[in-house]
């Protein structure tokens, strides 16, 4: 009979499976929510709650990958995987049958395909912003969300990259996208933003994946060492499957060990790691701005009224960050509820911060929407003005007003702190924003195309089942990958999380310090100074 390992036991206890040894309860100031919503500038609010120790962090994070998954995980995974398969089958049907299976017509020759592409590629931007820009700006709260956001970025880029690949009609000629010398002497058109897109998206995907993977290397090493240590203490641990006599921990040790690339937690390793992290953050920072700028050039460099606008690059970037943070919230709020102890790491303050970003970027896209209208009028171009009036009052008026309601009106709730810290409200707004951002791209693409210059060319776009199936399927792919991430990979950066623990910045302690104030270990230099003056 196998005996549970001490650290496994601790992980189970922290996961709520085994009874807790001690309940680290502290009375909280109701004004501060879960103890993190402190507005006093002199107090540094804690980033990890419940007095978690350094070992607890390891056990919590490693526990997500080591413990049996929550009961909902397998059904959720199978559902997502089934939907992904449906999308895959639809793509196969599209490849076999042709682009005519989509609802495209002579006038609307880009519709859901490019809408979905821009939608997904935009979603990725929150991950890059969190990992790169917030890292350079030393926003410590990013450590709780960066890993999941980076994972989401990569999964979103994967979903996005599908669409340009399949929309070309002859998918087997997709290798013409990059400039490859060939016996047809066909060379990419370097003046076309569609080619810039190929470079922008592939660079983005590569750098994001490197960033994500490199950040996980020390955590893989932790998972490897824990598995290996358990195995040594108890070689009779559980096996993978009843008929597969391989010890789970052995498999873990080898797989995580392979991914850890020989990481030994040495000081030199950490030194290199920090340097490389900073370099990657530096490389990624321009990508946050460049990728969606270039995506916007696909439209802005054309002469279509409604597309030919100089405001597009900044407007698209703001929209991408907006949509990306909505997706982060959409995913992490349920995770926070469903996984044990995740609320200690993703606190209300994180939600509050991200809601503020939603509000700010939502205002930016709102400004861009109104500016487009203003310039359409001010510029005096009849076609341009018609394109915009047609957006708001033409046959696709419902899409336009869905976009305005979701993207401009719904984030206005976040002027209220009560709303920003109400996870249900934040989740609903995040959902609305996700819907709104999809509609934004739909509005830009389809309503601009469907009534272009000549009335004789007016056409409506009607999605077919294949359109819908591939779009829904991309959500299935995204969720499948994200659920696998939650199950098997380190969901938080363990070391970085430890660095932002209150314990990581020790201060002088006197007996009554912090007692009952709910601020955890948030110390300010101010009070510190007072203590010092008080006769230490």
């Amino acid at each position: 009979m196998s005996q549970l390992d001490p650290d496994h036991l601790n992980a189970q206890r922290l996961a709520g499976i085994a009874p807790a040894a001690t309940a680290p309860a502290q009375p909280l100031d109701p004004q501060t929510g879960d103890g993190t919503l402190i507005d006093t500038p002199g107090v540094r609010p804690p980033l990890v709650l419940n007095n978690r120790g350094i070992g607890d962090i390891t056990s919590i994070v490693a526990g997500y990958a080591e413990n049996a998954p929550p009961k909902w995980w397998l059904p959720a995974f199978l559902t997502a995987f089934g939907i992904a398969q449906l999308g895959g089958a639809m793509i196969l049907y599209l490849v076999i049958t042709g682009i005519g299976t989509w609802g495209l017509n002579n006038q609307v020759d880009w519709a859901w395909d490019i809408t979905n592409f821009v939608f997904w590629i935009g979603i990725g931007h929150a991950g890059t912003l969190i990992s790169a820009i917030l890292c350079l700006l030393k926003q410590k709260w990013r450590t709780a969300v960066n890993r999941a956001a980076e994972a989401m970025t990569i999964f979103a880029v994967i979903c996005a990259a599908t669409f340009p690949g399949i929309h070309i009609g002859r998918q087997w000629m997709a290798w013409f996208l990059p400039p490859i010398p060939n016996s047809n002497a066909i060379w990419s058109n370097f003046r076309s933003p569609l080619l810039w897109d190929v470079f922008a998206v592939s660079t983005y995907g590569t750098v994001s994946a490197l960033f994500w993977f490199m950040g996980m290397v020390p955590d893989f090493a932790t998972l490897r060492d824990r598995a290996d240590a358990r195995l040594r203490r108890n070689p009779e641990g559980p096996i993978v499957l009843p008929f597969l006599p391989v010890r789970t921990d052995q498999l873990r040790a080898y797989i995580y060990g392979f991914l850890a690339l020989g990481w030994r937690m040495s000081g030199r390793h950490w030194h290199r790691y920090e340097a490389a992290y900073l370099i990657l953050a530096g490389i990624s920072t321009p990508l946050v701005l460049s990728v969606h700028s270039i995506v916007s050039f696909d439209f802005a460099t054309s002469v279509m009224p409604g597309w030919h606008t100089t405001i597009f690059p900044p407007y698209f970037v703001a929209g991408a960050i907006f949509g990306g943070f909505a997706m982060v919230l959409l995913l992490l709020i349920p995770c926070r509820e469903l996984f044990a102890n995740m609320k200690d790491i993703i606190t209300l303050r994180h939600i509050d911060n991200m809601a503020k970003i939603l509000l700010a970027t939502g205002m930016m896209v709102g400004f861009a929407y109104s500016m487009e209208f203003f310039i359409a009028w001010y510029g005096g171009n009849k076609n341009e003005l018609f394109a915009f009036v047609n957006r708001a009052t033409g046959p696709y008026w419902w899409a336009y007003w869905t976009m305005i309601t979701c993207n401009v009106l719904s984030p206005q709730l976040f002027w209220s702190k009560k709303m920003r810290t109400n996870v249900v409200a934040v989740w609903i707004v995040a959902l609305l924003v996700t819907i709104g951002m999809w509609f934004e791209r739909f509005v830009i693409i389809v309503t601009s195309l469907h009534r272009a210059f000549l009335p004789g060319e007016y056409h409506m776009f009607h999605p077919t089942l294949v359109d819908i199936g591939i779009f829904v399927g991309s959500f299935g792919t995204f969720m499948t990958l994200f659920l696998l991430f939650l199950r098997f990979l380190p969901v938080f950066p363990i070391a970085e999380l430890k660095a932002v623990l209150p314990q990581a910045s020790p201060h002088h302690h006197d007996d009554d310090h912090g007692k009952g104030n709910g601020h955890g270990h948030g110390h300010s230099t101010n009070t510190h100074g007072k203590h010092a003056a008080g006769g230490h």
């Binding site: 060939n182 016996s183 047809n184 002497a185 066909i186 490897r224 060492d225 290996d228 040790a253 080898y254 060990g257 020989g262 030994r264």
Partner: protein, 233 residues
């Protein structure tokens, strides 16, 4: 941890890196060499009915003009394949002295007379074919612009059985469209393949274009079309 992966695994990254680089180089090199028309079109020599029409005998030895059989090459998109009656014009009973004197010759050309008497056609197998999205390569345009048969078909007059000489890939088309001076010849020399071969070879080796060739180049304004619509319309 040190026991998890034995020491010999340290060479694995190097092995994988070398294998990956070698594999990539092999894949690229293989593709480069094998997956182009240069490899899989050049040298194509199907077995023709009746053992094939020998251009070597008819053109090289007997000195027939290309246009005797390919009658429409100057007027049509197609350099037409002659019908059986063109063959029968010579290979009918009693026409050629050789037909009666040499039994093997009679035997070899019997399929022509058989086809003629049955009012059937001979199913020659097509050797040169451009894809259908290269709308009918216009033979008349090229021939009238001073491009010899030799430029695309090689020394047909030396081939006992016709085979594919050039790749006919798009980049090969463009090579000439972008540098027609490497191929135009005076119009009276277009069907003189031996002459054209020598002339173009000399030109490649640096001798200047003859005034007659320059005049042809000037006539086409030195500018064969390079736009997509010229061929793909």
């Amino acid at each position: 941890m040190s026991l998890l992966f034995p020491k010999w695994t340290n060479v694995l990254p190097t092995v994988f890196a070398v294998a990956a680089l070698g594999g990539a180089a092999t894949a690229i090199g293989g593709f480069w060499y094998y997956a182009t028309p240069k490899f899989w079109r050049v040298g194509y020599m199907p077995t023709q009915p009746g053992g094939g029409f020998s251009h070597q005998i008819h053109v090289g030895k007997l000195g027939m003009d290309c246009r005797y059989c390919h009658t429409n090459v100057e007027k049509s998109y197609e350099a037409n394949i002659p019908n059986v009656s063109t063959c029968y014009g010579c290979h009918s009973d009693g026409k050629l002295a050789k037909l009666n004197s040499t039994p093997s010759h009679k035997e070899k050309t019997q399929f022509i007379r058989d086809a003629y008497s049955k009012d059937a056609s001979i199913d020659w197998i097509r050797v040169h074919k451009v894809p259908d999205y290269v709308h009918n390569f216009p033979h008349h345009v090229h021939v009238n612009a001073g491009i010899s048969c030799y430029s695309c078909h090689g020394r047909i007059d030396t081939m006992p059985i016709v085979h594919h000489v050039e790749s006919l890939s798009m980049s090969w088309c463009l090579d000439c469209h972008r540098a027609p001076e490497n191929h135009v010849v005076p119009k009276d020399k277009i069907y003189d393949l031996a002459f054209v071969q020598e002339e173009l070879k000399a030109r490649r080796e640096g001798s200047p274009m003859t005034p007659a060739a320059t005049a042809v180049l000037d006539a086409i304004q030195k500018a064969p079309p390079e736009n997509c619509g010229a061929c793909h319309y």
